[in-house]
């Protein structure tokens, strides 16, 4: 399998969203249709589809919508549920615990962790919040592989080290710091501060 860029990977959920929205309307979609709806080039859409699907599109008929949905879901790993835990139950952590749409993306949140005694042993959206100090024993029972990291910056690396020791294999990092992890651990950073910086800088430049 050839190496796929992040830019490319980012497009698949967008294809998926589009295909799910038109599945009741059309049986087949063509690359030009998708490209036009999503503001992408036809060539790009063709390439992206070829990567996930071994099926051949019929000339002038395009692809079967439901088959293409299945292909993309399997490619992204959405066809099987990965168990995830939320580490740090502040405002953002709470939002993730409450969000009911993750199953659509192959993610099932099975526990939260915090050090706040007011939160420990309570439930949010029917998900138990555990004491962060019991991380080892709880994670090994739950067999979770993904951690959604929402802790304060100054403890992020220390908590990450503990997650790695517990066998966590993927970290979705919302803390705006650089984290060191072993090579076999996957990390995906979402830096909202950086995203806001881009917006703010561009807005201020417009006013010049």
């Amino acid at each position: 399998m050839s190496k796929i860029s992040n830019r490319q990977l980012e497009r698949y959920p967008i294809y998926l969203k589009y295909l799910l929205s038109v599945r009741n309307e059309y049986n087949n979609v063509s690359a030009p249709m998708i490209a036009s709806a999503l503001g992408l080039s036809i060539e790009q859409v063709r390439k992206d589809i070829q990567i996930v699907s071994v099926r051949e599109g019929k000339p002038n008929q395009g692809r079967n919508v439901n088959e293409l949905i299945n292909d993309i879901q399997r490619f992204l790993g959405y066809d099987s549920l990965d168990d995830a835990v939320v580490i740090g139950v502040g405002h953002l952590g709470k939002a993730f615990l409450n969000y009911k749409g993750f199953k659509e993306f192959g993610l099932s949140i099975v526990a939260g962790f915090d050090i706040d005694t007011n939160l420990i042993n309570t439930k949010i959206n029917n998900i138990v919040i555990y004491d962060l100090y019991s991380l080892n024993s709880v994670i090994s029972q739950l067999h979770a592989k993904i951690a959604i990291l929402c802790v304060p910056s100054d403890v992020a690396q220390q908590v990450t080290n503990r997650l790695v020791n517990c066998g966590i294999k993927a970290i979705w990092n919302f803390v705006p710091v650089h984290l060191d992890v072993p090579e076999d651990v996957v990390i995906e950073n979402v830096n909202l501060a950086s995203s806001l910086a881009i917006l703010s800088h561009r807005l201020n430049k417009k006013g010049d």
Copy 2:
């Protein structure tokens, strides 16, 4: 001013965070110090600093930490507060309304908007939630320029059109759809579904 890439812009909040964390410890920082702490190349750090700061670093002494903090904050527009509104007060919208750290990034949330009558005219973190149908009159009173968009996908474009008509100049978009805006409106997309897709795909590939 030369054009700055998003990659580059994304680094400035990371520099800022680091500098704020060491300001009590050091008076001066050098590019090699910053590079080593953040896992970046020295050359990259030097270039990034030169863009925001006209001041010269003294050889072997580096830059004054507080001056560099001020330079970056001014560059990113954090030295003046921009008023922002949250559109759509679901779980994510609530998390933003509750977050007290935005002022650090030059953002002040002044109102929320939703169509849920149970939310309208209530306050979250002392910020009033207004009826989305009163958008025009409220925004023109508040003079807000930035909207944080957290509405359901199927109404995102329609709500965006209304925001643009109200004079909103920047949209921080958390809805995973492509939005059309006029050229003078800045848009920054944060697609959590795409970010999760990258993580999920990489995790599943590891297991192959």
